[in-house]
Symmetry: C2
Subunit: 317 residues, 2 copies
Amino acid sequence: MSYPSDPILLQEVAPRDGLQIEPVFVPTADKIALIDRLSMLGFSRIEVTSFVSPRAVPALADAAEVLTRIRRAPGVLYVALVPNLRGAMDALRAGADELNMVMSASDTHNRANMRMTGDQSFSMFRDIVREVETNKPSLNGTVATAFGCPFEGDQSEEKVLDIVRHYLDLGCDGITLADTTGMADPRQVERLVLKALDLVGANRLTLHFHNTRGLGLANVLAAYSAGARRFDAALGGLGGCPFAPGASGNICTEDTAAMCERMGIPTGLDLPGLLEVSRTLPALIGHDVPGQTAKAGRVQDLHAPPATLQSASKRKG
Amino acid sequence: MSYPSDPILLQEVAPRDGLQIEPVFVPTADKIALIDRLSMLGFSRIEVTSFVSPRAVPALADAAEVLTRIRRAPGVLYVALVPNLRGAMDALRAGADELNMVMSASDTHNRANMRMTGDQSFSMFRDIVREVETNKPSLNGTVATAFGCPFEGDQSEEKVLDIVRHYLDLGCDGITLADTTGMADPRQVERLVLKALDLVGANRLTLHFHNTRGLGLANVLAAYSAGARRFDAALGGLGGCPFAPGASGNICTEDTAAMCERMGIPTGLDLPGLLEVSRTLPALIGHDVPGQTAKAGRVQDLHAPPATLQSASKRKG
């Protein structure tokens, strides 16, 4: 089959999709320090927070303050997730470069997660587009549960692609297909990515995978081989799924970057820098994180042979 | 690229490669009970133990007793790893159906792990082959560190393939390429598997991957797409690498089987049965295990929507 060698764009989402599920409130200054460090590591896009109700997601109650106070690096687009018109306006006021709008392919999930029907979501998106017209932020449309819903199961590709078309009709600059609870498999990914790429250019399509069942990087490669070039990932593999306590979260930024490095796929990221910042995460959130490369080191980080080795060949044979 | 749909043979190695690194000694009766349960789940090959020195690997000091006392299921080949002639003879006496011989592509690793030079390993293999001729067990030859050595780094493909040829000349029935400390990447896997398949038929070639850096299942798919059909895996993702405390071990049997199930790749395994047995592992070894599907459930194991859902659409929109 042979993999391509085109660059992959990894978009960091740990500050939003990672921290939103954490039971502890990471102090605002620590969030800002984390984002400021990430800004120096080569990302062109960082999803910094979500303008959701502080009652629904207390962990991100400081969204406006975070977005206002981070030190903006040139060339980095700072993204905010917005669940409704009010969130969009707040995000804009706080200086978001891009608004990430979300609806689920699954009606049940959309009602559980966004508390809206599909039609209500579409209507809300139209309101946002109309209201932000003068500010002209970049707009991204995310299809959550695009690879399956934890309540409904499989979702029809036609339904997912209809939402994509809807986002494009609204004038969205980017589209994200999200495997919200880690249900995708590589064959399914290949199939849906090929169809999505008929509607959206590779430079505008993001794949957002979770590693809930261990398939995260296999799905990345399936999507990449099918032509996708943009991927969300979270430092340390932060994030998670409310239905899978103990299971992995988002695909891990530094594990993905390390895989790309070994495969000769450029990411433009500072991998040693990522590992350094990743290793600060357990202290920040109070528990171990799923990322592997921060524990194992990079492949090229070799170890000293055992000291006993000199005499070993004499002992046996 | 499109994945094939040919069956995959998963070979269980948790009792050997999983338990050998555990600091606790799993009682012999528990090991036997575990293997007996695994025997009923559709495996055609289970690596049950290793006839290494009890001083080197105290966790498997009961190798002979385990191999003698397990309840043999028809159609299952019970494999023992043998590090030397003495281990081979002990394994045969205890009733091993197959002997798995090992040497590392890396000289440094072979000396550290087997305490032999490459020539000493080859000479030992010849002794084993000569001694077991009358018993005619199945013989497998494993090339450890085939995708990289934690001391030396990259290994030349020619050296790996030379060892494969050597094993074949000795009359080995099967060949295993082992990524002993999880250093392989999918592009490298594809390249080496294609070359190995020029020497060994797919029905005789096993790939043994570790998930040390999170690439385990991506490497499985790379090898599978390149034509490999046999893979070692450990229940719960047991195992590990002495240089990566906290990192993952072998690729996880049930995660791999679940991926295959979703992709329509037959494995012949009883996935619910695997999950049930996997969930007994933490109690057996005293800590959490890396496998994800046992925590998250299978993709098709759906969840009830939140009870608040009925009134949700009235609240917002």
